[in-house]
Structure formats: C-alpha cells, structure tokens
Symmetry: C2
Subunit: 337 residues, 2 copies
DNA sequence: GTGAAAGCGCTAACAT
DNA sequence: ATGTTAGCGCTTTCAC
C-alpha cells in the first residue's frame, strides 16, 4: 500500500463521515446552514484524519488570499521591527497573514512586490521603501490597497500613507535646542532618497530660518553604525564645531553620542547637545539619556491596520500623520550656563 | 460593460495570443517545451494584459506552496530580528517566501502553526518557541520539515534544530571571569522554559563546579528591560554582593550595566564585572563595551536555510550547534587589582 | 511543439 | 439541511 503523501482533503473526510464533500465545506464555514449533528460527525472524522481546510484552494475561489504583503525597507530599523510585530499581532486578530520580504539596499520594492502579486495578496504594506510608478499603477488596476509607512513619494501620490509628524517633531526639536541656548546647530541626515530624513531636515531648516538663525551645518550619514559615526566625526572635526546636532533618527544619534563622548571627550549636554528622532528603547537608557521625539508605533500601526483592512476604493490618498511628543532628556541639558 | 475586477488569467492571455491556455502555462514554465516564437507572442500578450501567473493555483496542483512559515518567539530579540532578515534574503534566492507570525507571550507556537498548516507551508521555522507534541506529530505526518532556532525541547526531539553553542559560550565566559579575578559570581537568567537560558546556566554552573567554586547566585529576570533591571537590582542589593554577573543575553546585560552604574554608582569592570551572550550591536558601543560571546547569525541562518530547503526525510533529528567566540571587553576588565 | 481534457481542493449556486 | 454540479487558475498527461 502506497504511503499517503499529501494531507487529507474534504473528500476523504466526507467519505469517512458518510456525507457529501460540500457538507464538509459547510461544516468548516462559520454560519453555513448545517445540522449540529452532521457537523459533529464531520468534525470527528476530520479530527481522526488530521484534516485541515486548504486555504490555498479557498483563496483561489474567493479571490482573496487573506495574505498581506509586507516589504521591509531598512532591516536595521528597530522602529520598523516593532511596527512589524505590532502589525502581526493586529492582523492575526483579523485572520490575516503577513508574507514578508526584506529589501536591503534596493531602491524600490519592485522585485518583491512582483512576487507578492503572484500570490494575490489582499494588500501591500511598504515600510520605508517605495514602488516604481509602473508597478504602482498595476496595484491600483488590480485594486490592491497599498499603504506606505514613514515614506511619501510623488510617484505614488495616490496611495495611502501613515507617517509620523516629521515636521512637528523637527520643529519641536529645533525650538528646544534654541531654548537650551545652543547656537551652532547641525543636522545629520540619512542617505539618498529617504523622504523621512528630508522632511525632518527641511522642517528643521525652515524653523531655524523662521527664528532668524542661519541654516544648520549638514552632514549625511548612512544606515549603519559606522556611517553614522563617520558623519559625527566630520561634524565634530570642523573648525567651528557645532554645539548641537539633530540626528534624523535615534540610531544615528546614539552613534553620535559615542563618538562625541569617547573620541572627542566631550561632555554630552554641556559641551555638545545631541537629539534624535523616534524614541527607541535605548534612547531612554541612562547611558545615553537621549532627547528625542516619540514615534507612537501602536497608534501608527492601528491606522495602518485600518487602512489595510478597508476596501481599496475607500483609501485613495489617505495620508495619516501621527503626532509624537518631545522627550527632553539629558543629552540636550546644559547643566550650567 | 462591467468593470473587470479580478486579474487576468492564463485563459485571457491565450485568447489574445491565439494559443491554448496550456501553451501560456508552458511559456511561463522554465524548461517547458515551447517554440521561441510562440513564447514571445504569449509574453507580449501577457504584458499588455498585465498578466501574472497565480501562484495559489500553481501551489494547489504542485502540492507545495513555496511558503515557509516562521514563528517569532520573542519580538524584542534583536538577535532573532537579524536572523529573520538574513533568512529572508537567503530564501528569496531560492524563490521561497516567508509567512510570518509573532507569538508574544504564548507558551507554544500552536495557534500560528495551525494557521500555517492551512496554507500548506513547505516548512516551518520556529524562533525561540516550541510546539505541542500533538502538533509536532501532525507536522511529521504531513512531512513538513520543522527547524527550531535557539531552542531544544524533549517534546520534539525528532526535529531539526540550529542553536548557538550555549555550553561552550557559558564555559568560556566562566573561565574568563575567574581568570579576571572575580570571585562572587552570579547568573541572571530568563523567565520560564527558555531552554537557551537553561543551557547557558547549567553549563556555567557545571564549569564553576569543575573549578571547585560554589554555585553562583541566581536571579531570574524577564524579557523586557524593566524585568532585567529589577533582577539586577535584586542581585546588587544583597548583603554579599556578587562581583560579577553573567547575564543570559546581551539585552539583559545592558540593562544590568545601566542599573549598576547609575543606580548603584559602581564602576563597571573594576567594581562589578558584567558579561552577556550574543554580541548584539550595542554590546560593542563604547558606552557599554560589554564582554560577550558571539552568536554568528549568518552561519546559523545558512544552516537553517539548508535544512529548510532539504527534503524532510533527510533532516530528522539533525542538530547543528554553531560555535561563537568570546569577546573580552571592558565590562569585565579589572583595571587595577 | 501544441491542443484537449482531467483534476488539484475547495466554494457557491442550484436543486431537492 | 443536504447533495449535485460547475468552476476558481493553473499543471499535467495524452494525443497528434
């Protein structure tokens, strides 16, 4: 007798329970019209066979897979990471599942989205990464909701997005630094086309201008720790050294603190103010005590989930901007004046 | 004319290209027997319609979905995080995809594995979380490879696993601490049934015993920062305070350093030695300079990928134990004696 | 090299 | 309440 190699089907269960295959389907469909007794008989047969409905087959018919495609722009981002987990928990409740890709170093999520579309995902969630116009249009044609996270782009204006209030955050950091008496401000940005970084920078610059201050010194780091450290070194080696640095995210700010303190021997806060953006867990560690602007993950993901689960027609061009709050900490505290 | 709502099928393409639907299938199957010319005609038609093969339908026939199920035990673990991304990159090359779940606070991955099985995943990868015996057996019956990551359990002895060499790491840390002259050693563990933590602890204890030293003081923390901090406080408040703490992972070790330095005013290294396990990025920050044992993510994930992609028959009970190396750093450096 | 036909495991009318 | 039938979009014989 040949060893059965694939899992049992509804047919197998039907035969064992002495009912039609359709009855089995109904037994596993909440709210379908089936007699309590037959259902129980079917369940018993199913259990004894180890039957489990094949969701691939169901998806084929229903035209929806229950799968949400997620592309992860920056694998190093702790913020994205916690967002992913929050989303996973949230979508589990809605019986949706996450098909995940990492797109390190790629300019767009195209390759992965291509794959995801073949799996007929119900929606797409792009974290810190964009899409080519062509693919964006195809998603729209196929009525697949696309939600952008912490990123906006002209290419795909007609898609929904959820971002932190970058402008407000940058302004608040700017105001705080000025109020603390820092005068030679600098901005440490990310690499190419990170809209998040751009937004924070331009709002920061605009705010300083509105207060009659000169444009800040500027240095671009990169995603990794070493890139951030290099940028910090460049800034701190200048003849006219800045007395405060606003880093586009916490991760870079922590690297900057390390460089300032251990390579330049500066006292953080008094001799050099450093502020970040995002309030990752390490920021509140007393070893860093980093002034930053919070990105409220839970609220943001709540918005994302709502968008992902709502019918595509309803979500065109919805842009949610979620406010954080400034967390003034020791890294921008001038102990004496 | 009604608006087309679902994506075009192979049939649509066939009609447009003037061929049979089977031909379309062949055109998209690498190595299938089809004339160059027909193939091109089909591709053109496909492109103009925006056709993309439906992988759900293909999976239904082929009996394999191309999907690997991943359950994430501890969402806070930076180590798991980088492992996930490494795996994603690796599996992309093999045209496999990751269906991901977060299982925070759950004892087993059962609920999620149940879902994953309905999607007919080709293999399962469980990071720091186990499976009930019942479900484990069902996976075996269905010939679904299961790979455990940084976890072993008696329940599922017959599944493959990849772990770091916890015993070697614990021994090396022990030897290092003794050599540095620390005498009142302590161990800070994780919460319930974390086999990784147990292994490290028992190997640490065994090593100390072999050197004729008493069993270390013991304190259990939990996953989160606050739990770790509390455990550290308990240890440091004892009448006979330990002079060195081996923490079961880096995350807790960093929290312990913060507590020791900022709450107890201890000089790290000289007054209190602290060692971790894993070598996460923050460990090498000069702010912590944490002595630790590396967990080589890339090598481990390489092993995992090989196991996940190999036929289930071949992988019964394969247990890979990957060696790391000790990184002695300042947090266990007794500057003077 | 290509088309016709069967069928993967399921849901959704349509009967009864 | 239940069985029969058709069909989701594809792969895979089997002819030719």
């Amino acid at each position: 007798m040949p060893r059965r190699v694939s899992s049992p089907s509804a047919h197998d269960v039907a035969r064992l329970a002495g009912v039609s295959q359709a009855a089995v389907s109904r037994a596993f469909t909440p709210g379908a019209s089936i007699a309590k007794l037959t259902q129980e008989r079917i369940f018993k047969a199913a259990k004894s066979l180890g039957y489990r409905p094949n969701l691939l087959a169901r998806s084929l018919i229903k035209g929806e897979s229950g799968i949400i495609g997620v592309v992860f722009g920056n694998p190093r981002s702790i913020f994205f990471m916690s967002a992913l987990h929050a989303l996973s928990a949230r979508l589990s409740q809605a019986q949706k599942h996450i098909l995940m890709f990492t797109a390190e170093g790629k300019a767009t999520a195209d390759v992965h989205v291509e794959d995801l579309l073949k799996y007929r995902v119900d929606a797409l969630f792009l974290m810190g990464i964009g899409l080519s116009r062509k693919l964006a249009e195809q998603c729209r044609d196929n009525h697949i909701p696309v939600v952008l996270f912490n990123l906006r782009s002209r290419e795909i204006k007609d898609f929904a997005s959820v971002t932190c209030n970058n402008r407000d955050g940058a302004r608040q950091v700017g105001a705080h630094l000025i109020q603390q008496g820092y005068q030679r401000l600098a901005f440490m940005g990310g690499t190419t086309n990170i809209t998040t970084s751009h937004e924070r920078e331009s709002a920061f610059n605009a705010y300083l201008a509105s207060r009659g201050l000169p444009a800040p010194i500027r240095e671009a780091g990169s995603y990794d720790r070493e890139g951030a450290a290099r940028a910090a070194r460049n800034l701190l080696s200048r003849r006219s050294r800045p007395d405060a640095i606003f880093c586009w995210n916490d991760y870079m700010a922590l690297a900057a603190i390390d460089v300032a303190r251990y390579e330049f021997g500066l006292e953080i806060g008094r001799e050099i103010g450093i502020a970040g953006f995002g309030d990752i867990e390490q920021a509140s560690s007393p070893s860093f005590d980093l002034t930053t602007y919070t990105q409220p993950v839970d609220i943001m993901i709540q918005e994302v989930a709502t968008l992902l689960l709502s019918p595509p027609q309803l979500m065109h061009s919805i842009h949610r901007v979620v406010d954080g709050v400034l967390k003034p900490r020791g890294s921008t505290q001038r102990r004496r004046n």
